[in-house]
């Protein structure tokens, strides 16, 4: 891994299991204000997942929907056995591309607490 990569901090989103059993990771239909409640994890799940990710060394910003967690690419790669590719964009910005191995499994310590991890796609300014 290059020195440049190790100096960056990146953040991903953790998707959490919900009480209803519905999942952001697998839902194919529209999620709107009318049905979003069934995609929300419980407060206990959010707290437990927050603690678990913090224990792994991530800086964590929980919310009612998903958890934003931040760390070095190496930390993500070590904890989740994934590869992060950093791609340079305009004006010095970077995109994080998350490569999961075939048959990706959540680490034992996070099983049942974190359902999946995702890297948001880089947006484009519409200006």
């Amino acid at each position: 891994m290059s020195t440049t990569k190790s100096q960056r901090l990146v953040s991903l989103e953790a998707l959490l299991p919900t009480e209803s059993g519905r999942s952001l990771a697998t839902e194919k239909g529209p999620i709107t204000a009318k049905n979003v409640a069934s995609f929300l994890p419980t407060a206990e799940t959010i707290a437990a997942a927050t603690r678990a990710l913090q224990a792994e060394g991530f800086k964590v910003s929980p919310s009612e929907t998903t958890i934003t967690f931040t760390g070095s690419p190496e930390l993500f790669e070590r904890v989740f056995s994934v590869t992060l590719e950093l791609k340079e964009l305009e004006a010095g910005a970077v995109q994080v591309i998350l490569h999961k191995p075939k048959g990706f499994k959540m680490p034992e310590k996070l099983k049942g607490l974190v359902e999946d991890i995702v890297a948001p796609e880089p947006p484009e300014y519409f200006g």
């Binding site: 952001l24 529209p30 004006a91 010095g92 910005a93 519409f126």
Partner: protein
């Protein structure tokens, strides 16, 4: 006092100094005194008790600091250097140090330094009145991981045009640079902020009714916000920038997009309060959620990606869920529809999808051929846009002269040349001409702020409904061919949705909605209006359940009739 080896070259201190204040750690050892490396298995020791953190926040504020972010381990704070010096009984100097920027580029950067401590950038808190809650304050250092060199052929070409070697140069230090609060004169048809945008959206008349967006909070998720004299001289209200995930430098907008487009909000709602959430390309979901956590009335976003059909990725579903929850919590969310894109989240059913109409020199309108218009392939039955703001035409939509950070990405990249290829402004003057549906979204945020001031009890669905019902129909032109090139015609269409937003009509209708649950039944008798049936009771203080309000929100015809009568 500890003597440090340094290459000292004291320069002017920045107006605001940012730092990380560490609240006393639960492990009893300061993170600044810990001899070993702080690792994932030991970091827990450096968290702080939540009550102590709360106390620290209150006392820092009392001492004159802005507390920008409360984290698990530190608080991000900002204040003039003098405040730090007074509270912590110390001195802050500026030093030049050699640094290696991205890919090994050697350069000199300015660091803030406190001479009393051995650790670089650390302020000792023991001599301060905050000694019982803080274990140390670390001054922020410049970071370089975002200053990547120009890589792609397109970027190289743009960089060449801007007369520069590398993209890193786009974020030069700003010392000594002071742009004018007045836009530069340019010799082509364009709009200036605030006057022309306000006029084009019919906001002037709302302002004269006393509706200016006062006490309405708007959050914008974008590239950052620079304190341009354009904003300062006009006394616009802007809270400190909130740093989204993987962003730094809250006082800088290296790109320029956020600073420029934010001027559109104030052109329509000059008394609204803006908070910019700085966005990186790394995690837009996290940035949006941060905006939501600020509990604004309105969130406006001028970005997205192009998605023609579903299903959405898990990451985009996460963004959809955050948006839906924001709307359910009563926050009005606006997204740009795109510039030839099938914009997502601009096509999400809960957002106000912002399209574009072009105002000609004679004041007439047509659909912007730069803005998107499409039927969503992700959400069946969803047509975009809902309503339009003012957007330029192809090529490039260089239409509204906007304030940006001098020498930033947009200032340079759009500069020079002849319109419409260039914007005919210098590359370092802090002004650039652009628009796109990026301009429409904050304009509509301004209209929503007026509506919200006029009737604070309205929910997002009602506000969207009011904007659509009061828009001016755009009947000529067509939208961007990349999204179908649909023609505008009488009534709602794919090119412009309901048409160009009308701030006065929207604010007026909102005011009426707040006054009456059901309008009175009236009959005109010559010059007199006879009230046949009185209105129902005012409902402003009533809480309205989301679903009930949404159903109720669609039928505005009785009130529109009353407006006609009046």
């Amino acid at each position: 006092m500890v003597e440090k080896k340094r290459k000292s070259n004291p320069g002017p201190l920045p107006k605001v100094v940012y730092a990380e204040a560490s609240v006393k750690s639960i492990g009893g050892v300061s993170m600044f005194d810990e001899p070993s490396v702080i690792r994932s298995d030991t970091v827990n020791r450096f968290y702080s008790e939540s009550q102590l953190t709360k106390t620290a926040v209150e006392r820092l504020k009392k001492e004159g600091f802005d507390v920008l972010f409360t984290g698990e381990t530190t608080l991000t704070i900002g204040a003039p250097a003098e405040t730090y010096e007074k509270v912590f009984n110390t001195t802050i100097n500026v030093e030049d140090r050699e640094v290696f920027k991205d890919l090994g580029e050697k350069d000199v950067a300015q660091f803030l330094e406190c001479p009393d401590t051995a650790m670089p950038g650390l302020i000792d808190t023991k001599k301060s009145p905050l000694a019982d809650v803080l274990e140390g304050v670390a001054l922020n250092e410049p970071v370089y991981y975002m200053d990547a060199p120009v890589k792609t052929p397109e970027a190289k070409e743009l960089a060449k045009k801007a007369g520069m070697k590398e993209a890193a140069e786009l974020a030069e230090p700003l010392m000594g640079v002071s742009p004018t609060p007045f836009p530069p004169p340019v010799d082509y048809w364009h709009l200036d902020v605030p006057a022309d945008v306000s006029l084009g959206l019919d906001a002037d008349r709302a302002h004269r009714m006393g509706i200016t967006g006062r006490n309405v909070k708007v959050a914008m998720v974008d590239s950052g916000w620079y304190r341009h004299p354009y904003f300062v001289k006009r006394g616009y209200r802007v809270s400190p920038v909130a740093l989204g995930p993987s962003t730094a430098n809250p006082s800088r907008d290296e790109h320029g997009h956020g600073t420029g487009e934010s001027a559109n909000i104030f052109a329509v709602a000059p008394d609204a309060r803006l908070t910019m959430v700085k966005l990186s390309f790394v995690n837009s979901v996290g940035a949006f959620k941060l905006a939501m956590a600020l509990r604004p009335d309105i969130i406006t976003c001028s970005w997205g990606s192009s998605i023609r059909s579903g299903p959405l990725s898990a990451a985009n579903q996460a963004l959809a869920a955050a948006i839906s929850l924001a709307v359910r919590r009563g926050i009005t969310v606006i997204f740009s529809a795109g510039n030839g894109h099938y914009g997502f989240p601009g096509q999400h059913p809960d957002v106000i999808s912002a399209g574009g109409a072009y105002m000609r020199r004679d004041g007439s309108y047509e659909a912007s051929d730069y803005a998107s218009g499409f039927a969503s392939g992700v959400y069946p039955g969803r047509n975009c846009p809902d309503v339009c703001g003012l957007v330029g035409m192809k090529p490039g939509a260089k239409y509204i002269v906007l304030p940006v950070e001098p020498k930033d990405y947009l200032d340079k990249i759009l500069s020079g040349g002849s319109h419409p290829l260039g914007d005919e402004t210098p590359n370092d003057d802090g002004w650039a001409t652009f628009s796109g549906t990026s301009a429409a979204a904050p304009q509509l945020a301004g209209v929503c702020a007026l509506v919200k001031q006029a009737c604070s009890s309205l929910n997002p669905a009602q506000i969207k409904s009011i904007l659509k019902h009061t828009a001016r129909d755009v009947t000529t032109g067509s939208c961007n061919t990349d999204s179908g090139g649909h023609p505008a015609g009488p009534g709602a269409d794919l090119a412009t949705g309901a048409g160009l937003a009308d701030a006065f009509r929207a604010a007026f209708l909102a005011k009426m909605r707040c006054m009456y649950r059901r309008p009175p039944v009236v009959r005109r008798l010559g010059e007199e209006i006879e009230v046949l049936e009185a209105s129902e009771t005012p409902f402003e203080a009533e809480a309205i359940a989301y679903d009930e309000a949404e159903a109720w929100g669609e039928d505005l015809s009785p009130i529109e009739e009353m407006i006609k009568e009046i």
